[in-house]
């Protein structure tokens, strides 16, 4: 989780990603951010986030995104 928070903080240092729960709904993350976050996650955690998991619900909070990473790591 810390490594994920680090990836996100690089994009927006002023945001507290550990508590924010509306990253997409409030347009904190845009498509540039989503693409680079997915790429970073895929590289660092050795997973491949599939297209059908790239939906707003999985990106609204760091916690939701971390849950997705863990789910993919288990597969």
């Amino acid at each position: 989780m810390d490594e994920l928070l680090e990836i996100l903080s690089e994009l927006h240092p002023e945001i507290d990603f550990s508590t924010h729960t509306a990253l997409i709904d409030e347009a904190v993350l845009d498509s540039f951010d989503i693409v680079s976050t997915i790429t970073e996650i895929n590289e660092r955690f050795d997973v491949a986030i599939p297209a059908d998991k790239i939906v707003p619900e999985n990106f609204n909070s760091a916690a939701a995104l971390w849950a997705l990473v863990e789910e993919l790591e288990d597969e």
């Binding site: 927006h12 997409i24 540039f32």
Partner: protein
């Protein structure tokens, strides 16, 4: 002969009054409504004494914004599209350069306009739309118009930090729209899914052919470009059959395997450009849409839009680059070597130079940079004739097709946007305490990388850059260093920094 783009709108409103012209999630405008709004806005501007001057259109992307563009043209003025997401500094520089007397806004952008150092008229576009139309006044304005009158000013990144305002005219836009439409075979059944912002020339591909053919443009909600499955569902749902997107938007879809879980059902024309399309993703798109035609487009803002096209008719191997093809009719592309001699041999590199009616008029209030880029054709000295030097290097292949190689300078293409790395460095330098800074583009990972030496932490630098630069120009990675390496003659060693990324 067509001399004004308003002829497209006049005809569309007569022939297809009730057909949907432009739609987004909230609103749909028919050709008749678009025409009526443009006349109301044009009447109001003309009545206030605006003529032959830039009028800023500071509105979020919507069908009404298109009506505002045409309203400005009906008043005999030219439009300058600004975006509600542009950083404040950029907007201020643009307003300084233009010194406009009128800015159109709506309730969403009014506060931003009012906070500017600007003393001209601030006009609410929704209020202007209610103005009773004075067709006699509009006809009188039109009778005076000629086809070399300006139509818009769009701003591109400048290496010194000052954006350059490219001024296009009716004639250049008409030439471009006619040639592009013929090459890509647009027609009345075309349903465009627009991706490009309205403040760049890329949106011309949808706006004007929509009017020319009575076609329809759907403004794809921006948020969908983050979520590829939802994006394709949207295209299928709206019956979108034609997309002209930056390659990075198409790469996003193919890159995450989206095309294996959902198939685009209506797409028949897929055009891309502005940057390199990796063959792997292109091939995936071609397999997913076997009946669609694919076009690689190339052209600078200074030649209005796109200048040439290549139709993809075969698979490309990894590492192979897709040609940019052949110039549109009525445009000539020349390759010139360092002695300004024409390169005609295949496989020999030259600078891509463009001549033709599609050339724009130059940069707004900037004769120096205009003269540096729009030069006398060096192949003849007998009469004045302009040629635009793109700064791009290219060569022709054995089949006679033009191929893009690289830039002569530090300009890059990132997510479809043209960016001067110098502008990013300039913005970083405005932070107090900055000793040295160097921006490079990581060609492999497609990232803008900034190196800097200063007693400033990374978070403060990012926060600072966000106030100075558009979102798409923000570095994707930032590396603090104690000192930046220098070459033996004391210049920043870009090559060494770039090599450190490998």
């Amino acid at each position: 002969m067509r001399i004004n783009v308003l002829e497209y709108l006049d005809r569309a409103a007569r022939q297809w009054p009730d057909k949907a012209a432009f739609c987004d999630a909230e609103e749909q405008l028919s050709f008749a409504a678009l025409d009526a709004y443009s006349r109301a806005i044009g009447t109001a501007l003309a009545a206030d004494g605006h003529a032959a001057e830039p009028v800023v259109v500071y509105l979020p992307k919507s069908p009404k914004t298109v009506a505002a563009f045409f309203g400005v043209l009906r008043a005999g003025c030219y439009y300058v599209p600004l975006d509600d997401e542009m950083p404040r500094l950029r907007v201020e520089l643009i307003i300084q350069t233009l010194a406009p007397r009128a800015i159109l806004c709506n309730s969403k952008t009014r506060a931003a306009v009012e906070s500017l150092d600007y003393s001209g008229a601030i006009l609410d576009v929704d209020a202007l739309c209610a103005t009773p139309v004075d067709n006699a006044a509009l006809a009188a304005i039109r009778a005076e118009a000629i086809d070399t009158d300006p139509i818009y000013v769009v701003f591109t990144s400048g290496s010194t930090g000052k954006p350059k305002g490219v001024v296009a005219c009716h004639r250049s836009v008409i030439d471009y729209v006619e040639q592009l439409s013929a090459r890509l075979a647009f027609d009345g059944d075309t349903v465009f899914g627009n991706q490009a912002p309205l403040y760049v020339d890329a949106c011309l591909k949808e706006l004007y052919p929509t009017l020319k053919f009575g076609a329809t443009t759907c403004f794809v909600p921006k948020g969908l470009f983050s979520f590829p499955v939802k994006l394709l569902e949207y295209l299928n749902d709206k019956g979108v059959n034609t997309i002209c997107w930056v390659a990075s938007a198409l790469t996003l879809v193919a890159g995450f395997g989206t095309l294996e879980s959902i198939t685009p059902t209506h797409l028949r024309t897929i055009a891309f450009g502005s940057e390199v399309f990796p063959p792997k993703q292109l091939n995936a798109w071609r397999r997913a849409c076997p009946n669609a035609r694919f076009f690689n487009l190339y052209g600078p803002t200074e030649a209005t839009g796109m200048s040439c096209a290549y139709e993809v008719t075969r698979d490309f191997a990894e590492g192979e680059s897709v040609p940019i093809g052949r110039a549109f009719p009525n445009t000539q592309i020349l390759l010139l070597d360092e002695h300004n001699a024409r390169v005609t041999e295949a496989g020999v590199t030259g600078e891509i130079c463009i001549r033709g009616t599609a050339l724009t008029l130059g940069y707004y209030s900037d004769p120096e940079r205009t003269d540096a880029a729009f030069v006398q054709n060096p192949l003849q000295s007998h009469y004045p004739e302009k040629l635009y030097r793109t700064g791009d290097l290219g060569q022709t292949n054995a089949a006679g097709e033009l191929c893009f190689l690289s830039r002569k300078d530090y300009q890059i293409k990132h997510m479809g946007h043209r960016i001067e790395l110098g502008e990013i460095e300039g913005a970083a330098h405005t932070l107090p305490g900055m000793r040295s800074v160097c921006c490079v583009f990581d060609d492999v990972r497609k990232k803008i990388v900034l190196f800097y030496a200063a007693d400033v932490d990374k978070a403060a630098l990012i926060a600072h850059l966000k106030t100075k630069l558009p979102r798409y120009m923000l570095p994707n990675a930032i590396h603090p260093r104690d000192e930046l390496p220098l070459t033996p003659n004391g210049k920043l060693d870009r090559a060494a920094l770039k090599a450190s990324l490998a």
